[in-house]
Symmetry: C2
Subunit: 333 residues, 2 copies
DNA sequence: CCTTTTAGGTTAAACGTTTAACCCAATCTT
DNA sequence: AAGATTGGGTTAAACGTTTAACCTAAAAGG
């Protein structure tokens, strides 16, 4: 039998209300004597207040839902860590949901979070999503969209990253270092980051009057297997290039494998740059030149923004676009 | 104003109890007509039941606490994914806590999980822990310890891995492939896995009558920086060896960097094997030979065990020790 | 035809808190 | 000295469910 606030009250010889007040530090009107007595009893009995009961009254669970495609995708752990740090700093905890980018799983997650009455949701929408956002309209819980920026998504805020600027910088750097026949291995073109990185690539090529056509932009998905396969195919098809800008680091890893296999010398013969700067990028050999995303900060800022939105309940949607930084390592001259 | 079961009852012209029954499928005694009417109203209004209210009554939150050192440590994401999959399969969700292996953070997490009335806890104990386990005795929530096996920890179950067997197999393999002067770069010797891997190393050396002494077992921590530093120092100190068994993959990565820097040829001149088989191991170049831990399965099995324990409330503590498998790649002959 | 069973509900207590409203004695004000 | 304030509490309603116990009319049993 769990011990409740009632027993504490009885043991301390005060009312439940009084105990509640000392627990919640609303104790301006409680004498030090009573306060200490109650606290002592609490310590002795090991009483721990039941927050689900208190949530009934206060209408807040001090819990935030975190909906991401897959925690096993090396991009997300750091984001999650950032989110958890800010959350626990503010007295919140995180419920983690993996959606595998599947819309039905997303719906289930959101429904579950609604039932559990989380105070807010961080949401990385599936690339495929748009139509279904209808059902999101009625969640009645503040939502911040994270990383992806699906148009028409009914959210109260957004945290994204300067994808076009990042891509622009990366490709411009390649050009500056003397590469000129640059191709781009992308992720699924349905997702906003992909589109934006393509845009940045084009801008940079245009800005330096370098030619490119559709064959230079090769779609795949954000895995190393895809990077390997598309690179392989590109080489076999006789495509010429002296540098490849990859949609993310995983693609870059696969790409490099393929290049090595074909005996192409990374850096001299062909430069490679990735995107994300996951843990791996620094660990591999050669170390990967890449556009670094502030992953930890994204998570951190996201819950920061969420807390703001939750607090004010203002309707104006907030947005924060974080900067990327090119980190030059060993796969480019 | 959130819509409650009360309004559904009113709109459907039935009692609250009836609505509750159709929601929870205890509807054997409800006519199809009423059932359909109620369900229709629920759909129309977009009513979503408040699980925190229901938790008050049922005494279960359908939530599991997951306490790990750091989700950004590449070992854990897959474990967490396994746990989340099994949990959501069974209708549970996961609250994630990072402790950074710090005892005070652990205490805070556990206390928070208690307050939130989670139904069970998965717990990767800090290596430093033992004394404080006193406070764990009174949590009153089933706990499964994960990965680490601290003696005297008051838990209802354990999921670990065959560390000594894994290490034994790895070192034996090295010996079989003709390496003989094998050193071991370890993690902190306070942790059980470290101790067990050392034990496995020694067993294998002994079994093949190979000599080793204290200088062959070099303590560090489970980071690549540590692997680099200790390897570097070992080389400078003139230690001779032809293979190194690393306490985990991160150490192996650092170690390989140091070896490369000193111009030592991986595989021919010196073999390297890691432990864990994190994502990275397959991605690096050369691909790392390593002892693979069933990380996903660990998480999956852990919540499986937890659910069992929660169900039966039997006092007998359960244990499951999972097998490792040596995966030979490119850093050994 | 009387009794029992069944189908299809309803009533109300309980879960463990928070908090607005109230209370009373002692102290201040004027 | 009467009224107002203050310190230190208490009372009780409310939060949104679940569920055991109860109820009633119709059908079934004998």
């Amino acid at each position: 039998m769990k011990i409740t606030i009632k027993e504490i009250a009885k043991l301390s010889g005060v009312s439940i209300a009084t105990v509640s007040k000392v627990i919640n530090r609303k104790d301006s009107k409680i004498s030090d004597e009573t306060k200490n007595r109650v606290m002592k009893i609490i310590k002795e009995t090991g009483y721990v207040p039941n927050r689900v009961a208190s949530s009934m009254i206060t209408k807040e669970t001090k819990t935030i839902g975190l909906v991401i495609p897959n925690i096993a995708n090396p991009f997300f752990p750091e984001v999650v860590r950032g989110a958890e740090d800010k959350a626990s700093e503010a007295g919140y905890s995180l419920i983690l949901c993996n959606t595998d980018d599947q819309i039905d799983k997303e719906e289930n997650c959101i429904a579950m979070l609604q039932e559990k009455m989380v105070d807010g949701i961080l949401y990385t929408a599936s690339s495929r999503r748009h139509a279904i956002s209808e059902s999101l309209k009625h969640v009645g819980i503040p939502i911040i969209s994270l990383d992806r920026d699906i148009v028409g998504l009914p959210v109260q805020g957004k945290i994204t990253v300067e994808n076009v600027e990042g891509a622009f910088e990366a490709v411009s750097y390649l050009i500056k270092r003397g590469y000129s026949k640059i191709i781009h291995l992308t992720g699924p073109e349905t997702s906003t980051p992909t589109k934006q990185r393509i845009e940045g690539y084009k801008k940079a090529m245009d800005a330096h009057h370098l030619p490119y056509d559709d064959s230079c932009i090769i779609e795949g998905d954000y895995t190393s297997a895809s990077g390997y396969a598309t690179m392989e195919k590109a080489i076999r098809s006789g495509l010429t290039f002296d540098a490849v800008f990859c949609g993310n680091d995983l693609i870059a890893i696969g790409c490099i494998k393929a290049l090595k296999k074909h005996g192409l010398k990374i850096l001299e013969e062909v430069g490679v740059v990735g995107f994300d700067d996951i843990y791996l990028a620094r660990m591999m050999d050669p170390e990967l030149t890449t556009v670094s995303q502030p992953k930890y900060l994204m998570g951190y800022k996201a819950v920061e923004l969420l807390l703001e939105v939750m607090g004010e309940n203002k309707e104006g949607r907030r947005e924060e676009i974080l900067k990327t930084t090119l980190v030059v390592r060993e796969t480019t001259r």
